[in-house]
Amino acid sequence: MALEGFTHLAPCAAGHEIIRQGRRDLTLIRMTPDIVYDQMIGMGCAKKVVFSWGGNPGVGSLHRFREAVEKGWPNPLEIDEHEHAGMATRYAAGASHLPFGMLRGYLGTDLAQFNTETVKFVDCPFTGERLAAVSAIRPDVAVIHAQKADRKGNVMMWGLLGAQKEVVLASKRAIVTVEEIVDDLHAPMNAAIIPSWVIAAVCEVKRGAFPSYAHGYYGRNNAYYKYWDGVSRDRETFLAWMDKHVMRSKDFSEFLQSLEAEGLHV
């Protein structure tokens, strides 16, 4: 499955629900694992991570991801690692229902030699130029967060759109969490709309991208990304924190209340 959203609109509430439901052995696909996958990996949901940049942006490491890769805790983690351009191309190939995508990429990097299953090189049939071919990504499930849906389930988003449209169209099923469901989207022409008939389910989850952001609703909580470094560094501290704030909360709004109760600005 792929929970996408490049810095903006990360589907963090959906990640919590997957953790609470105790899902295991998932292949987690996401260009930037971010806090949402750090939590899922640390809670033992992941068998494999497919990604292209696994850090806490501007802060440092994702400690749970690191410990899984370095020490196999809480379980060994397989990785399929790419560069961003390759991942974006893999999603676009998936959405286009092609077996692979092509780019002038993986030049000068050692990445291709460790990813022989998903990166190969082909010769252009017209010019003979050697180009990278990357296998298409077609997830069973995509989860994204967006600003608005109407009552029919048409979804509208704006701001940084990442690869969400590609991942929705590449996936067998797509679930969208939204800030609000409205009667009318009042969408301007050419707005970024995903029509309801390619979406399996829409769920209203206010602030569902926290600590990431939803443009027009709330900003990125950069202080929280720094705070996460301290919470996640040690596995016992992490587990206690997850138990207190995520496992004991029935939904995302209770989770946010539990943070506020500790004086955290959310």
Binding site: W53, G58, L107, G108, N221
Partner: protein
């Protein structure tokens, strides 16, 4: 001119900023490169076009972003595009003059490691990885790299080559037919290294004021070549320092939340 006190990090950021040409379309990595390019934009290069890989083109952030996709970048951009578009039409499309990257490690040919320390399959330290860097390093017209100068960062041999600089030196990059020319300078807190025109080996060509050549050599993990006509980097001007400090103060306040 009166002596103004400044830190080695400030000297690094200011020296890096000076390398950004006004009007250049500049693909910016987060962290040190972001501070340098924004300082350039706020001083001598007001028409530099700043592009971050999240898809913000022509952005003018009032505070430095913590991530590559902060709302501040989106709010102040000329146009926002999707990830597929930024990497294919803009970067692969060779629209970018200058790529500005940070690194965990570099070697003497300015190849970059930001992936692992140790063996890839069982690393002693797992770093964040590639992100957009390999494509930036390959496709931008020219590349600048900025990082702090020490033996852990400037190594004889990389554990993993994440992004290609001048590869094995000489004409090895040219033979691989990368679209861009590759690194033109590495700016550190001690000085500036530029690739030799023929061998492409990084050579110390400028040293920051008050830094001894021996110190730079000691902090480099390979036998560093020093240019015969070694220059001294001009110290920060009062304007450069004031603009940088102002920017960093605004940024610290914004990221503290509340």
């Amino acid at each position: 001119m009166s002596e103004t006190a400044y830190t080695s990090d400030e000297m690094m950021t200011i020296a890096a900023a000076r390398m950004v040409r006004n009007g250049a379309a500049c693909f910016v990595g987060v962290g040190l490169p972001s501070a340098a390019t924004n300082l350039a934009r706020l001083t001598h290069a007001p028409d530099a076009v700043l592009i971050y890989e999240s898809g913000t083109i022509g952005t003018r952030p009032k505070v430095l972003p913590l991530s590559i996709g902060d709302d501040e970048l989106a709010d102040t951009a000329d146009v926002l595009v999707s990830l597929v578009e930024i990497f294919t039409y803009w970067l692969q499309g060779e629209r970018i003059d200058l790529g500005f990257l940070g690194a965990a490690q570099i070697d003497k040919f300015a190849n970059i490691n930001s992936t692992v320390i140790g063996d890839y399959r069982s690393p002693s330290t797992r770093l964040p990885g590639a992100g957009g860097a390999p494509a930036i390093a390959a496709s931008c017209g020219e590349i600048l790299i900025t990082l702090r100068h020490n033996k852990r960062a400037m190594v004889q041999k990389l554990d993993f080559r994440t992004s290609g600089g001048h590869m094995e030196g000489g004409d090895s990059r040219a033979k691989m037919r990368f679209p861009g020319k590759g690194p033109i300078a590495v700016i550190t807190d001690l000085g500036i290294m530029t690739p030799d025109p023929v061998t492409k080996e990084l050579t110390l060509t400028s040293i920051h004021p008050g830094v001894a050549v021996e110190k730079v050599i000691e902090n480099t993990g390979w036998p560093l070549k020093v240019a015969p006509e070694l220059k001294t980097t001009p110290p920060p001007t009062e304007t450069e320092l004031a603009v940088l400090r102002d920017l960093q103060e605004r940024t610290a306040k914004a990221h503290a939340g509340g």
